[in-house]
């Protein structure tokens, strides 16, 4: 255990010292992974598939506000959906605009939730997101996580139905529009995931706020249970195809991962070094406030 504390505190020390640089690098990597994943899944707009464009945008995002990554990701999906058909571009843009209105009004700081939720679906660990954002976010993070779920299913729909949609060239515009709308919005699996994830975020967040001693582990356990029960019940009521084994194993893995994430990431991210300046009648103060190190071995860098 002491070793783990040592590793954690080393990471914490690194973050404290190189906070600005590490954030820029992480933002660059996040943007790169998001855009490459979108290009890999869709890629119907040839011009956006070029690596230099992705690299340039990722470099720009490394020093722009984090929400710009969301903007570019949405732009990429909309452009690729234009490569599928005009109707799908209109629907995707309208859907993203609706989500933007919701997200921007209530939880504009939850950039990571919007971006990481689809990525976690790609990496087959989706059940981790509601637990993590229940722990670090607010109840309104349910909106951001839900936006991420919808974005993932929209991308999935376009990628699996590309041939069908492009093959409908004989049909009228309205018919194609209706077909895409039905496919995207009447997706029962997506609805079940949105309901389950929203319930989990809210439950985890509410329990975490209680002041009893083990509120965090209890919140993770309760969240895992909520996730499994709500998704299982909603899936059985709506007839959505969700693998029971995948749900249980995925949720248990997510529970384990949530404990690890809590141990490693939260302290690093939220207890960063602060640099402040102030003065009184006698002195100017330039203070660097470093969070206390918990393990014995770590003596700084």
């Amino acid at each position: 255990m002491e070793q783990l504390f040592y590793v954690r505190d080393t990471i914490k020390g690194l973050f404290g010292r190189f906070d600005g640089y590490i954030k820029s690098v992480l933002r660059f990597l996040l943007c790169l992974i998001v855009l490459l994943s979108i290009n890999g899944s869709l890629g119907y707009m040839e011009r956006l598939n070029s690596t230099p464009i992705v690299l340039i945008i990722s470099l720009m995002c490394s020093f722009l506000p984090a929400n710009m990554i969301v903007f570019f990701a949405a732009l990429f999906v909309a452009a690729h959906s234009y490569g599928v058909s005009l109707e799908s571009a209109v629907i995707v843009t309208a859907l993203f605009f609706l989500m933007f209105l919701l997200y921007y009004r209530y939880s504009p700081k939850d950039t990571l939730a919007v971006l990481l939720t689809p990525l976690c679906f790609f990496f087959k660990i989706p059940y981790l997101m509601p637990l993590v954002f229940g722990l670090i976010g607010t109840p309104l993070s349910a909106i951001s996580v839900s936006c991420g779920v919808i974005a993932y299913y929209v991308i999935g729909y376009l990628s699996t139905n590309y041939t069908v949609i492009t093959g409908m060239s004989d049909e009228t515009t309205v018919m194609r529009f209706r077909f895409i709308m039905d496919g995207m919005l009447k997706n029962r699996e997506m609805m079940v995931m949105v309901i389950g994830f929203s319930a989990t975020v809210i439950i985890v967040n509410v329990i975490k706020r209680f002041s009893f001693r083990f509120s965090w582990p209890v919140a993770i356990f309760a969240g895992t249970l909520t996730d499994i029960l709500v998704i299982a019940i909603a899936a059985s009521k709506t007839g959505a195809k969700i693998s029971g084994g995948g749900l249980i194993l995925g949720s248990l893995f997510a529970m384990l991962a949530a404990f690890i994430v809590k141990f490693f990431i939260f302290t690093v991210d939220y207890e960063k070094t602060e640099r402040v300046q102030f003065e009184d009648d006698d002195y100017y103060y330039y203070v660097k406030a470093v969070p206390k190190i918990k393990s014995r071995e770590y003596k700084g860098l």
Binding site: L101, Y104, Y283, V287
Partner: protein, 127 residues
């Protein structure tokens, strides 16, 4: 020249840290009266929900354009308009209610943190 007081430096550091991040937001929020802040944000939400509703209505109309074109002459337009208006009021109402709760909570939290900050200021004054 007198020596630096450790406690005073710690207090000032915490206060400066608060001013840098949370405090700036709290000051911006508490710059308003509670009712003004909440109403302003409720109005913003109603505007957002009006745009969202218009967009949804547009999508619905285009989705059902064939049926609507056939029925438009036999349709009771006043009744339809009233139904649409009822949906809009319900939609905007729910959005306004959620905003009212969320922004009231945010104002109270900002007010509390500023109260703590003011208490620290008074304490600093005693040094």
């Amino acid at each position: 020249m007198k020596d630096m007081d450790d406690e005073k430096v710690m207090l000032m550091t915490r206060m400066a840290s608060f001013e840098q991040e949370e405090g700036r937001k709290a000051l911006r929020i508490c710059h308003f009266f509670r009712s003004d802040y909440v109403i302003l944000n409720v109005v913003k939400s109603v505007v957002s929900s009006t745009i969202a509703f218009a967009l949804l209505l547009g999508l619905y109309i285009y989705y059902n354009i064939d049926n609507l074109m056939q029925e438009v002459y036999s349709m009771d337009l006043i009744k339809t308009g009233r139904t649409v208006l009822t949906y809009y009021i319900a939609f905007a109402g729910v959005s306004a209610l959620i905003s009212y709760v969320v922004y009231s909570f945010r104002y109270d939290r900002a007010r509390k943190s500023l109260k703590d900050y003011n208490a620290a200021l008074r304490k600093l004054d005693e040094y």
